[in-house]
């Protein structure tokens, strides 16, 4: 019995414990090597969005340890896009809208813009009908013109821009209706560079370029 037990133990050691140990060592080595050799793709939990994939191995760009990604991190790069945020803190400080935050935590970027998960466009991972969290009424009688509109079309069809209403609000559209295809004045900002001097000065380096000293 003892002898048989010993044999069995040895066998089970070989087949199970050793296997587990080997796998563990391999995994640790694998990840360690990946980290050390800067092949951080192995740590990516899923496909990175089109906006971020170019620096997807630079984990520290967005992550500080295992803390949740903060708004400040996003704003490092996206300040210009958020310059006139129509769904920003100012809106939800207003008591009329403050209650809406219970329906969707709209003041945190990652509520709608997660990463490493499937996106529906514009870096949004929530279902396209996310506007219905608060605006269900719009398509159900509150706004006659929008009666019966699809719940998932507000932004996916391009009509509405959640953050920035400057160029796609009703007011803007009314103001610019019936313009001719070509505006009377077609003018982009011009760019002129004044010249300080009329002729170029003598080049002040020469031999340096050819490997010689000054």
């Amino acid at each position: 019995m003892a002898l048989r037990g010993e044999t069995l133990k040895w066998r089970s050691l070989f087949s199970l414990k050793t296997a587990i140990a080997v796998v563990c060592i391999a995994l640790v080595g694998w990840f360690g090597a990946a980290f050390a050799l800067d092949h951080k793709q192995v740590f990516l939990p899923g496909e990175t969005s089109v906006g971020h994939y170019l620096f997807e191995t630079s984990c520290a760009s967005c992550h500080e340890g295992f803390k949740p990604v903060s708004n400040e991190t996003c704003m490092r790069c996206h300040e210009a896009e958020m310059a006139e945020d129509k769904h920003g803190a100012a809106k939800f400080r207003d008591p009329r809208w403050a209650g809406e935050l219970a329906k969707i935590e709209a003041l945190t970027c990652t509520t709608c813009h997660n990463e490493h998960v499937h996106m529906f466009g514009r870096g949004v991972h929530l279902q396209p009908d996310l506007c219905m969290n608060c605006h269900q009424g719009i398509i159900e009688g509150d706004l006659k013109s929008h009666d019966g509109f699809a719940a998932d079309g507000c932004w996916t069809a391009g009509c509405h821009n959640y953050h920035d209403h400057r160029s796609i609000s009703t007011g803007f559209l009314i103001e610019n209706l019936d313009q001719p295809p070509m505006l009377p004045v077609q003018q982009l900002p011009d760019r002129t560079l004044p010249a300080k001097v009329e002729t170029a000065p003598a080049p002040d380096l020469r031999q340096e370029f050819l490997g010689g000293g000054a």
Binding site: V42, W155, I168, Q179, R191, K196, L210
Partner: protein
């Protein structure tokens, strides 16, 4: 899903592969025609210099996009600034890529797009080979030199200047009529470290940043520059998800990838530089558009006018800032900013020239976008009918 294979590293491997392909022209040649003396005439000092700088890893690949120095171009630019042409420019023809092409009988490329004249193409190697085929000693040395040439292309030391007299003269001439020179930005402004006065052969983005802060800041936020902002090596077309020119896969994205920093000619940066890499249908169809027709008139200017439409007009748009007499025009180098949502492009760009409905009807027509707006829009967005009806109801109520 990522565990098994991605450790092998998608990017580094692909990159290595591609850079090998690029050099492959000469490798293939040596394998296929081992007895050919072909490579020898090419291995003059100049060419060695060219090859090693062209393909060396630390060299910013912008050299490919540098506009070639044709007499006409020099003439144009110098009359533009009404400056006397330096005596040397006309008299001593410089050894430009274009001229090299002439000598070896290679058809001249379009002067402004270097991509059409590959430096070390198989054809060119082959062509020269027939003339010196019989010199046996050369035949023996050829593979050695070829190997040396390849080795140099791999292992050019980081601090070697890699600049010869020809390059220097070429750069100086371009600079002499540039906006830089006429604003007293001299060689040392960029080629000397500001703190130590140490010579810098190839100034980087930090150098441009000292004066062009806003341009660099916005560049770093777009797809083109974001890798630099995050401390990664520069973007190369090989990393792109959009179709890119096969010849351009290893080029690196920094300031002088698009800008010729010596001529400071931004007409080239506005279209030709883009098309060095981008080969999607929208990009390739640009030349068929009315926009491109307008841009053709700008070809002789140092920078695009206010009435033409280039790639940069829409994707790196100008905007004005400041007030009163102090209004100046900046360029948003964040190439991703106007892409999505599309209303951003409409307001910032299209509506400088086009009516609002025309703009929206165009930009939401995916086929028209692909065709690079070669025709008026056929789309009629329902939104405008809605808004019109809404406005009518409102005014009716107001009247009643």
């Amino acid at each position: 899903m990522m565990f098994g294979f991605s450790f092998v590293g998608k990017e580094p491997h692909r990159l290595r592969h591609l850079s090998f392909v690029r050099r492959g022209s000469s490798t293939e040649f040596s394998e296929e025609q081992p007895l050919s003396t072909g490579a020898v005439p090419l291995l003059t000092k100049e060419r060695l210099g060219e090859v090693s700088t062209e393909f060396s890893i630390e060299q910013p690949p912008s050299t490919g996009a540098v506009p070639l120095l044709s007499k006409e171009r020099l003439g144009e630019v110098s009359t533009e600034f009404s400056i006397e042409q330096p005596p040397s420019t006309g008299a001593v023809p410089l050894l430009t890529k274009e001229r090299l092409g002439e000598v070896s009988g290679f058809p001249k490329g379009q002067p402004s797009s270097a991509r059409s004249v590959p430096l070390l193409s198989k054809e060119r190697l082959g062509e020269v080979s027939s003339s010196n085929y019989r010199q046996s000693w050369v035949r023996a040395i050829a593979p050695l030199l070829l190997a040396l040439c390849l080795l140099m292309s791999w292992a050019t030391p980081a601090h070697a200047n890699g600049i010869d007299q020809t390059h220097l003269d070429e750069a100086t001439q371009l600079w002499q009529t540039s906006a830089h020179a006429l604003n007293e930005i001299n060689c040392s402004s960029c080629h000397e470290a500001s703190d130590t006065n140490e010579f810098v052969a190839r100034p980087g983005i930090e150098s441009c940043q000292t004066c062009h802060q806003q341009d660099v800041d916005t560049f770093l936020l777009g797809q083109h520059g974001i890798r630099l902002l995050e401390g990664d090596p520069p973007l190369t077309p090989a990393m792109a998800r959009l179709p890119m020119q096969p010849d351009a896969m290893t080029l690196q994205m920094t300031c002088n990838s698009c800008h010729d920093v010596h001529s400071v000619n931004t007409v080239q940066a506005a279209v030709d530089s883009c098309l060095t890499c981008h080969s999607d249908t929208h990009s390739l169809n640009y030349e068929n558009s009315r926009h491109a027709e307008l841009f053709a008139a700008d070809r002789t200017l140092p920078r695009p006018s206010a009435t033409s439409v280039s790639c940069a007009t829409c994707h790196l748009p100008r905007h004005q800032t400041g007030t009163g007499d102090n209004v100046f025009t900046l360029v948003n180098h964040n190439n991703t900013y106007t892409l999505l949502p599309r209303d951003r492009m409409v307001k910032d760009v299209c509506m400088n020239c086009h009516g609002m409905e025309y703009s929206y009807n165009s930009i939401f027509d995916d086929d028209l976008v692909e065709a690079n707006f070669d025709a008026p829009p056929s789309l009629a967005l329902e939104t405008f009918d809605l808004v019109r009806a809404f406005e009518e109801r409102r005014t009716d109520q107001g009247d009643g």
